[in-house]
Symmetry: C2
Subunit: 402 residues, 2 copies
């Protein structure tokens, strides 16, 4: 029952992530930022220093009391690969142990092809070959349901995959630990480790892209739900008997304000949006009132629905992510009033964070599966976690002192 959620042992990874993101930091600062006792930081950093992942650096000028000793990353231990799979392409990144991206690529892909899995494996293999550093493992994020991250058997209606042994195949072909997860869960994990979510113990992640996704963090841990499907904000029923949704139901939020729905609405209203959502955004950018109205109405719907979710979950903050944010300024006029007015009065002050979006973010999320794993000592990520750990130790011993 102790921290039974998916989410590995966030704390040690969070130490590395914080140092990676903010540069060298003192132990005291670490304890404050991570909302963890100073004693624990002492213990963890001792281990990390012993493992050659951290090193003591300068002393900080002192601010009234004893000066702190800065801790910095050695960051020579190994990188991780993140893979994002969607229907028509694959994005890959190589990240350092602190979560920063050092290399990325995008490859065409056809998920519907009969040999999709083999092709995916080849694409991953080619990317792996380009790495100059020792690798800890591969994280894969994709739209769909994953049994358990450590196994990696995938069901995805979006990719038309049924019981695809993604994890097994990649492991076999490349001899690296492989962790597979739903893409939004992976992204939520990354957000918790490296993003705005670092500063909050419970938050809601909303992704605006082709679809509408959501991730939940409560008490510091990613909530997977009973069947690993928590967070499906896009499939909250909004309009009874509304347009059909991919999921098989009708009137889901996603069926109303997903990319396709927006474009369809625009087309109905006589707008020229042959090129899809980008055209619609371009029109709105140019000041086209009808285009703006499409976004604004979508914003209202999103705001009202999200208000309900927030009323139920009472998170500290809501974080928006995704490609769709490029048009956020057109959503906002509809979203803000609808959202605030739907919130319970005492929640009305809740913060929202629109994170700037880089396209490799999804893949970075996948990589964080690997980066979170080495420290999951309870084996919640199973055999694959043990392997990642093994590789990490090997390499920090080998690469540390010559």
């Amino acid at each position: 029952m102790q921290r039974p959620t998916w989410g590995a042992d966030v704390t040690r990874t969070a130490v590395l992530a914080l140092i990676g993101a903010q540069g060298p930091v003192s132990r005291a600062e670490l304890a404050r930022s991570l909302k963890v006792s100073a004693a624990l930081v002492t213990q963890l950093t001792r281990q990390l220093i012993a493992d050659n992942l951290l090193e003591e650096l300068d002393v900080v000028p002192s601010a009234g009391g004893r000066p702190g000793r800065l801790l910095g990353l050695t960051s020579s231990a190994g990188n991780a690969i993140g893979v994002k799979v969607v229907a028509d392409h694959v994005a890959l990144v190589e990240v350092q142990i602190d979560g920063s991206v050092v290399r990325s690529a995008t490859e065409q892909f056809d998920a519907f092809a009969p040999d999709a899995l083999d092709r995916l494996s080849r694409i991953v293999g080619a990317f792996l070959a380009g790495s100059t550093r020792p690798l800890l493992g591969v994280g894969v994020g994709l739209p769909g349901n994953v049994d358990v991250a450590s196994q990696g058997v995938v069901d995805s209606s979006q990719l038309r995959w049924q019981q695809y042994p993604v994890g097994q195949t990649l492991r076999r072909d490349h001899g690296l630990p492989v962790l597979v997860e739903n893409n939004v869960n992976a992204l939520t994990m990354a957000e918790r480790l490296y993003g705005e979510g670092r500063h909050h113990d419970s938050f809601l992640v909303v992704t605006l892209g082709t679809g509408i996704g959501g991730g939940l963090v409560a008490d510091g841990a990613v909530v997977r739900g009973a069947s690993g499907a928590a967070g499906q904000i896009g499939h909250v029923p909004v309009i009874p008997g509304g347009p059909a949704c991919q999921c098989g139901n009708a009137g889901c939020l996603e069926a109303l304000i997903g990319e396709q729905a927006l474009v369809a609405t625009a087309r109905e209203r006589g707008l020229r949006v042959g090129g899809g959502i980008d055209d619609l955004r371009a029109l709105a950018d140019e000041g086209d009132a009808a285009a703006r109205a499409v976004f604004q109405e979508a914003g209202e719907l999103l705001g009202r629905t999200l208000a309900g979710v927030v009323n139920v979950l009472d998170p500290e903050i809501v974080i928006f992510l995704g490609e769709g944010l490029a048009a956020w300024r057109h959503w906002a006029p509809g979203f803000e009033p609808a959202f605030r007015s739907g919130l319970l009065p005492q929640l009305r002050g809740i913060g929202i964070s629109i994170e700037s979006w880089q396209d490799d973010r999804w893949a970075q999320g996948a990589a964080s599966l690997v980066l979170a794993t080495p420290f999951d000592t309870d084996g919640r990520s199973g055999e694959q976690g043990r392997l990642v750990r093994q590789r990490l130790v090997d390499q920090s011993l080998a690469g540390g002192r010559p």
Copy 2:
């Protein structure tokens, strides 16, 4: 970060609760039921036996292997008082350490009176005087926001209380530990400990009564949310610009299918429901089609809204509780299809549990605040928890061997 949620240490209490509810049980059975390692059960039961709360009984006939030793409650250690406060009355119960109710009472009350708090205290005092057993403490459940259970400062629009020092007052007057919580959270805790929720690690509690309430349990712990307000299912916005709700917003679920709303709707349709919801239910029971339609439509709305919540949270099961369940068979025809059809296909098999309702259930929930507390050794319930613990130890030492 270790089990940071509200919710005390469920495990030890759960041991007592299970034994209380199911009678004597072997250690191995405990471990299985509570999904906890056998080693832990050994440790916990050793402590509980040492504390004179449990005792070893007979041996079970054996089923192929070594026979188990049954553990039973001594249940002489002390009782707890649960108090449920609503606008016009107060319900009180005395429960044993296993959660079973031994005594109950209901008193008239006027929460709007200027001296409401003193009167509440007198009511509690009179009930306390009727107890023949040593008491561990008092738990209070009420509709509204509570800062922290251990402090007990209450804001409640429903009771028109602002910053009422409920905990402090009762403590001062009666010299007992007092824990105060939102009523639905308290009920959810009781459900987790003594109800259907024992068997599930994540579930949703929905209360149907004057209002519509909700409680969340994820990974075994009650989710309070960032500001202690999680679970407000009743205030999910459903119809934009709909009828005004107590909370200040418009079109909330509760404003549409709360008791008052149902009665109002019935009245609009010419039904004679002067006596309120009971009349409406009586009509429906008699077969009045219009009355049934009111319930059925409400069921549809509830079903659709709840489907959204379930899609987002992915709980194992949904548990319904509350006075309103008396009319459930009239809700069900509307609820079931709307609920199932709003669920994501893979969640469609989710279980729902309609728990039979006893009116002292709310108060029992409040009492479970106290019963959960003695084992909250990390002091999450603060000073009051320490006091309850103290009393428990004192009495098990004093009352144990004569």
